[in-house]
């Protein structure tokens, strides 16, 4: 047997995988050790499970249904700013939840544009708080995601089919039945499943817009048991419930999950000759306008209100912004240090399945990990003193599944394309990383790091569990400002946070796309 010509040692990847499994398992065991002290499940816990599943279901449904006509309109019309709009559809993914919530409050809140409008014509005001507010925020985040996934499906239909349709003069109804419906049947369930799973572990939205017995997710219930009652036993039971619900759903969803394609609003639309009627054009324009408005109005309101509030921000906001930046930098560094060796190892193992290691990150929710680690460390040190490193670590684990999905296909491609040449030249180990792998992987690595940085800087999760009043990341500081009705300062902080999230993403992504001349 010739020695297998693997250019990269498997050891660092196995170490990274072991670290991930150990981190999750340690939390799990710590939680398990606390469960026995409690008296089983109470009505409140079941209520939280029911609400979690129900809101995730409706969030996914309401995200996916309008996404179909919006994606169809974007697929068959060229509107001014088309490419920009498609790019913007990716923005909610890196948008800090609390910023989006503030934007939604400005539109749908008590003094929001909608209620002012309703009041002007004598209609009763609508409230954004409660179950429908939670669903609304989830739809705000996930309808753009669903639209992009479904749009990808439309773009995957070969241009030749539309040429044939034009040649035969098929009416829209026949086009739908023969070409579009079969595509939708493949793509829509995947988009639905992905959004359903994402919404199952929702915390920050429920924290800000939900609450109370009728709008508390399991994740929020963990936080409340922990923070308000310091009932670790109950937090542990809820964590197990969360693991069962989210983990189970993630496993089921794995079969229908669509591949995550790195799509940068590339504007290659096949020429379309069908759907020429005036009515259809107006309909498509209306859908695009609706989606753009739903996406852009809250963001615009954040910018407008934020500009006014920037002057009102107390110095503590700037301090917490600095904290957030280094937590995000730490988290991104940790993510890269885990994801690179892990994907290099995964790219070289023949049998699949090992990839599911990274799904542990998805199934294990942030607050479950936080609870577990808290139980582990609080006998020895004050957990608040470790709040920031733990936040950075949990954020890295949460970004890991995305990073692996982004990095693994190009990593495999590099191994296929240059493995032979590298082996022949004796390029292996660190020189292979330095000379071949890292330069080739730079664009997806920059993109993945940018996602991780933006997700981390905007995260409002574990940090709320651990932090004492002296320590805060910017999202937590914003939440506290909102809680004390300092709306102007919160608006300024929101704009700062938005700029940080987009800026950190942009810097990393820009680094990835940098090309030296020659």
């Amino acid at each position: 047997m010739a020695r297998s010509a693997q250019p990269v040692s498997a050891t660092p990847g196995i170490v990274a995988a072991t670290f991930i499994v150990a981190a999750v398992l340690a939390a799990f065991l710590a939680i398990g050790s606390r469960v026995e002290g409690t008296t089983g499940l109470r009505a409140a816990e079941w209520q939280a499970v029911r609400f979690t599943v129900a809101q995730a279901f409706f969030s996914a449904l309401i995200s996916v249904v309008p996404a179909v006509p919006v994606a169809r309109a974007l697929a068959r019309r060229r509107v001014p700013g088309h490419a920009l709009l498609v790019t913007l559809l990716g923005a909610p993914f890196i948008l800090p939840v609390i910023v989006a919530v503030l934007g939604l409050l400005a539109i749908f809140g008590r003094n929001g544009w909608l209620n002012v409008g309703l009041g002007a014509v004598g209609l009763p005001e609508v409230s954004i708080y409660g179950a429908h507010g939670v669903v609304l925020a989830h739809v705000f985040f996930n309808m753009p995601l669903a639209t992009r996934l479904i749009l990808q499906g439309w773009q995957a239909i070969p241009a030749e089919q539309f040429r044939l349709i034009a040649q035969l003069g098929l009416p829209p109804s026949v086009v739908f039945r023969t070409v579009e419906w079969p595509m939708l049947r493949q793509v829509v369930p995947g988009a639905f499943a992905l959004i359903f799973v994402i919404c199952l572990t929702s915390f920050a939205v429920a924290l800000t817009l939900g609450g109370g017995p009728r709008a508390t997710t399991i994740e929020l219930a963990i936080f409340q048991a922990f923070r308000f009652d310091f009932d670790l036993g109950r937090a542990a039971v809820l964590s197990l419930l969360q693991l069962a619900v989210a983990g189970g759903a993630a496993l089921i969803a794995l079969w229908v999950l669509p591949p995550l394609v790195v799509q940068r609003g590339q504007d290659r639309l096949p020429q379309r000759w069908d759907a020429r009627g005036v009515g259809l054009r107006v309909l498509d324009a209306a859908w695009i306008a609706f989606a753009a408005g739903f996406l852009l109005l809250p963001l615009a309101s954040v910018v407008i209100a934020g500009l006014g509030g920037l002057m009102d921000m107390p110095s503590v906001v700037w301090r917490s912004a600095w904290t957030s930046v280094w937590v995000a930098a730490l988290s991104t560094g940790l993510l890269v240090a885990l994801a690179l060796p892990l994907t290099a190892w995964l790219a070289q193992v023949r049998h699949g399945g090992m990839e599911s290691v990274t799904l542990l990150g998805l199934a294990a929710s942030p607050l479950m990990l936080g609870t577990g680690w808290f139980i582990l460390i609080f006998p020895f040190v004050n957990p608040a003193s470790l709040a920031l490193p733990i936040t950075a670590s949990v954020n890295a684990l949460m970004a890991l599944p995305f990073a692996v999905r982004i990095l693994l296909p190009p990593m495999r491609q590099v191994m296929t394309d240059y493995g032979r040449l590298s082996a022949g030249l004796g390029l292996r180990g660190w020189p292979f990383w330095r000379i071949v792998l890292l330069p080739r992987l730079r664009p997806p690595l920059g993109f993945a790091a940018g996602l991780a940085a933006a997700l981390s800087v905007g995260d409002l999760g574990v940090v709320a569990l651990f932090a004492d009043p002296d320590v805060a990341t910017l999202p937590l500081q914003m939440y506290r400002l909102l809680g004390s009705y300092r709306t102007d300062a919160a608006a300024g902080a929101a704009l700062l946070l938005l700029a940080l999230a987009l800026g950190m993403f942009w810097i990393c992504d820009r680094w990835g796309r940098h090309r030296d001349p020659g």
Partner: protein
């Protein structure tokens, strides 16, 4: 020299068998129908496809289980012989040191090799900015620096036009003469390379025939080779 004893290799359903010697400094064309196993043979010799049985010796050293870079073999493939993100000089420099940390003297050798193949002005360019012929020249410059006793060529010039291909074969011939390397070259056009090789190995349905003098074989081909050549 290359010595192959009772070599067997498998790729899926396909099996390759062969026993032959190639004396030091000989140039051998490897010909045969598509799918007969020419590229598999070179892949096994180069260490990219494991041998199931048998031995491969290069200059008396058993390299059957050695890594591709530890066999004293330099190899050029049909495509992907250069890293697109490295400059021409860096690509060539990899022939000296896989770490690319070259001393001043080594950098001079890189420049000499580039001058030799006529690329001295293009050292800083990326392969994407080079023509197909220039890319082949860069790869040959690296082969020159590798200084391996054996050179394997798996149709590296197949994508070039006839005139350019002849030019590259001439340059290859020069490089091989200079280094004194033993050369094996897969070809679909044995007549085209007849003048630059000594021997010909005919591969048919996984059976590797021992090398025979090219001029003799091509003048009076055995039936299978005649059928392959046509006419």
């Amino acid at each position: 020299m290359i010595r192959v004893e009772g070599l067997e290799a498998a790729q899926g359903d396909f099996a390759l068998r062969g026993t032959f010697d190639v004396p030091r400094g000989r140039r051998v064309a490897v010909a045969g129908p598509s799918g007969a196993g020419k590229s598999t043979l070179l892949g096994v010799l180069g260490g990219y496809i494991p041998a199931v049985a048998g031995k491969i010796l290069i200059d008396g050293v058993d390299v059957t289980a050695a890594a591709p870079d530890a066999r004293g073999i330099a190899m050029l493939f049909q495509d992907g012989n250069l890293f697109p993100h490295l400059s021409v000089a860096q690509n060539v420099g990899l022939g000296l040191r896989p770490s690319l940390r070259l001393s001043g003297a080594e950098l001079e050798r890189v420049q000499e090799a580039l001058t030799h193949v006529g690329l001295s002005d293009l050292a800083g360019r990326k392969p994407g900015a080079l023509s197909g012929g220039q890319q082949s020249r860069a790869a040959l410059a690296r082969v020159l620096l590798q200084g391996a006793p054996v050179l394997l060529l798996d149709e590296p010039f197949a994508a070039l036009g006839p005139a350019l291909r002849a030019e590259m074969l001439a340059l290859t011939s020069e490089v091989v003469t200079e280094s004194g390397a033993t050369m094996m070259m897969v070809t679909h056009a044995p007549l085209e390379v007849a003048e630059m090789v000594d021997d010909l190995i005919f591969v048919d349905a996984g059976d590797v025939a021992p090398p025979a003098p090219a001029a003799t074989v091509l003048a009076d081909p055995p039936p299978a080779l005649r059928a392959y050549l046509g006419g």
